[in-house]
């Protein structure tokens, strides 16, 4: 019997006033009963509108159908045909604008909780599946993957499964990309990411951390070392600043630095050797997912007050609604239509305040959003002792600068064919944030998948 409730099964979560003091996962996941009940809300539509909203076209009614039948492992097997990181995507995909936005149940009521069900099936598999992944015999061809984020991990996994000998080169000491250095533990437990990486290693993928391509080894040297094709999934990790006075004061961070110290270096734990400023009042400038993550980390590090400072209005905020709601529940204060103009320091050059102006929305700009304009004479000083700049990132130029013939566009993104990821260099492919600029996990994964197929065709056709 279909479950005709207009509402999703609610996700069990830690209480806001508890979770804002710890780094444990906020959303606890469905029980088997809740999952089956939610699965029964799916009508199994023949024309599968939801699938059209998923960038990797997961067969959504099929996997949900298996959950209905309580065959959770079969549900996972369907997911993993299209997604190599379902436990991750089920947690962090912007489902509300992707798969779930097309769900027919969403016309009258809430859509089926596709993401939550995906997470459920993936977690169930992790907990219950025993069999080690079967190693595929080598076909003798070597492929190098640059960057161990979702794009690189996916590309590497698919190629290894097709028989290639794959080595991932990662600049940091830990694989995972933004999944380990950016997205916080309370939204995506690092043990889950580690599981995925361990699985790849069991398949035979080599992961060489501490190797910066362009510095330790260049792309050309990788070819000399016998790699026949290269996939670049180096992300978009270069932080932008506002270029306002006071930005180099002590206590001003890029979101990347703040999150790297917190997540990758575990500055929130007692025994971490990496320092971080424990501020009393924090302003996070920006309105995206990254800003929400930084704000929620700042709260958990003990700040009394955390402000999101955003120059447009609430409606224009690019962050996922769920993240905005979670942040509000936890006590983050939203100062919208507000723009910083100067950061003020004390005599020791620590941040002691931030001068802002109020904004109002004018005519729509080229992005279609109404342009914020300054209200004259509206400036005021916010009492803060730390500022986190979260106004975007762009691809790091390191690889482009050291690779002859690898072209980038005006925004510094590597130019690559959409379907294959082929760059302007023969046998060099690229995908993920390095090509699109900061985007999503699922898009990066999809790009890694497509490139794996193209690399296979290229090497087999040689």
């Amino acid at each position: 019997m279909a479950n005709m409730s207009p509402k999703k099964n609610e996700m069990p979560v830690q209480k806001p006033d508890v979770r804002n003091k710890n780094f444990d996962e906020v959303a606890l996941g469905y029980t088997e009963e809740q999952a089956v009940d939610e699965a029964n809300r799916c009508l199994g539509c023949k024309h599968k509108p939801c699938v059209g909203g998923c960038p990797v076209a997961i067969d959504i009614p099929a996997f949900i159908g298996k959950i209905k039948e309580r065959d959770f492992e079969a549900a996972y097997q369907i997911l993993q045909k299209q997604s190599s990181l379902p436990a991750v995507c089920g947690r962090v995909c912007p489902q509300e604008t992707q798969c779930e936005s097309r769900c027919v149940r969403g016309i009258k009521g809430e859509p089926v909780a596709i993401g939550r069900l995906e997470r459920f099936a993936a977690d169930w598999h992790m907990k219950n599946a025993k069999e080690a992944p079967a190693k595929v015999p080598s076909n003798g061809h070597k492929v190098a993957v640059v960057g161990a984020g979702p794009a690189g991990l996916t590309c590497a996994g698919d190629l290894q499964k097709a028989g290639y000998e794959v080595t991932i080169f990662e600049a940091l000491h830990k694989a995972g990309g933004v999944l380990v250095y950016g997205i916080p533990e309370f939204r995506l437990p690092k043990a889950i990411v580690q599981r995925e990486i361990d699985t790849l290693k069991e398949l035979g993928v080599k992961v060489d951390t501490n190797v910066v391509i362009g510095k330790t080894i260049t792309v050309d040297e990788l070819f000399e070392d016998g790699f026949e094709a290269i996939f670049i999934g180096s992300g978009a990790g270069l932080p932008r600043f506002m270029n306002i006075p006071g930005e180099n004061l002590k206590g001003v961070y890029s979101a990347n630095e703040f999150l790297t110290r917190t997540n990758l270096m575990k500055a929130y734990t007692e025994d971490s050797a990496t320092p971080i400023v424990h501020a009393r009042k924090v302003a996070v400038v920006g309105g995206g997912n990254v800003a929400m993550d930084a704000a929620r980390c700042a709260l958990r590090l003990g700040a009394e007050e955390v402000h999101i400072v955003y120059r447009r209005s609430d409606a224009e905020m690019p962050a996922r609604r769920e993240e905005i709601e979670h942040a509000k529940e936890e006590g983050v204060i939203f100062d919208t239509l507000t723009n910083p103009v100067e950061i003020l320091g004390d005599e020791h050059k620590f941040v002691k305040g931030m001068r802002c102006v109020r904004m109002e929305l004018g005519e729509p700009d080229e992005s279609g959003r109404r342009r914020p304009v300054t209200i004259e004479g509206s400036d005021f000083v916010m009492d803060v002792d730390a500022v986190i700049m979260s106004i975007g990132t762009s691809p790091n130029p390191l690889i482009h600068n050291t690779t002859e013939g690898l072209e980038t566009n005006k925004r510094g993104c590597i130019i690559a064919e959409e379907d294959t990821g082929l760059t302007t260099r023969e046998a060099v492919y690229a995908g993920g944030d390095a090509v699109t600029g900061a985007a999503t996990v699922i898009l990066a994964m999809g790009a890694g998948k497509n490139a794996a197929k193209a690399i296979d065709r290229y090497i087999q056709g040689k």
Partner: protein
Amino acid sequence: MFEILKKQELNPTVTLMEIAAPLVARKAEPGQFIILRVDEAGERIPLTIADFDREKGTITIIFQIVGATTEKLNHLKAGDHLQDFVGPLGTPSHVEGLKKVAVIGGGVGCAIAYPVAKKLHQLGCEVHTIVGFRNRELVILEDSFRAVSDKFVMMTDDGSYGEKGLVTNALQALIESGETYDEVIAIGPLIMMKFVCKLTEKYGIKTMVSMNPIMIDGTGMCGGCRLTVGGKTKFACVDGPDFDGHEVDFDEAMERASMYKDFERHQYEETCNLFQKEVH
């Protein structure tokens, strides 16, 4: 894991280590640095590549014990392993085409200055070296510098070795005596570099300095290492660490270097306690 092949105490607070890191050694150039982690809970700290041997696949680091991580590092011995070791990072020093250079090293900064002096010497440049230490006990790399220098001046603050005074006194004396330099390369404490730059500005001699702000990734990802150079924000780990000293905002750099002072002091005390316990 990266094996420590050799350990040598250069003075009571400065240690040299040779690390097996063939990939880094293959590409290392003077002026570049590495980032290491001692153990799994460790922080990432940058150290300059003091020397390298491409054939043996080794990198030499020379570090001063100033806090928790360098203290921990100093408790390792030959045969032990470092958790992580990545490089070479940063832009190599520009040494091509220089005919006559004054290289100035202060304290442990000499470890950073030495590979540059050596490279200049190999390229046939006339090298005048001025090194400065607080006292005789802290002197490092004297023979190494002498071997690559056409002129060598040793300064100590207290006059216990060489001449008494600051490196700036020696540099000024050389300039006043009629020596002319294409460039001055000054590497040492921020305050020393600042005053060398003040002096050379007067004489209009281009001066390169090696900046050492607090770093994490070393690849341009965090912006924590930012400095103001010529009024613009630069990331020392990718745009540097060498910069035109006449453009650097030293006062800002000195402030930023002290950002975590309280935390660092606490960590250092904890680390010392820990090792004392083990000794008993």
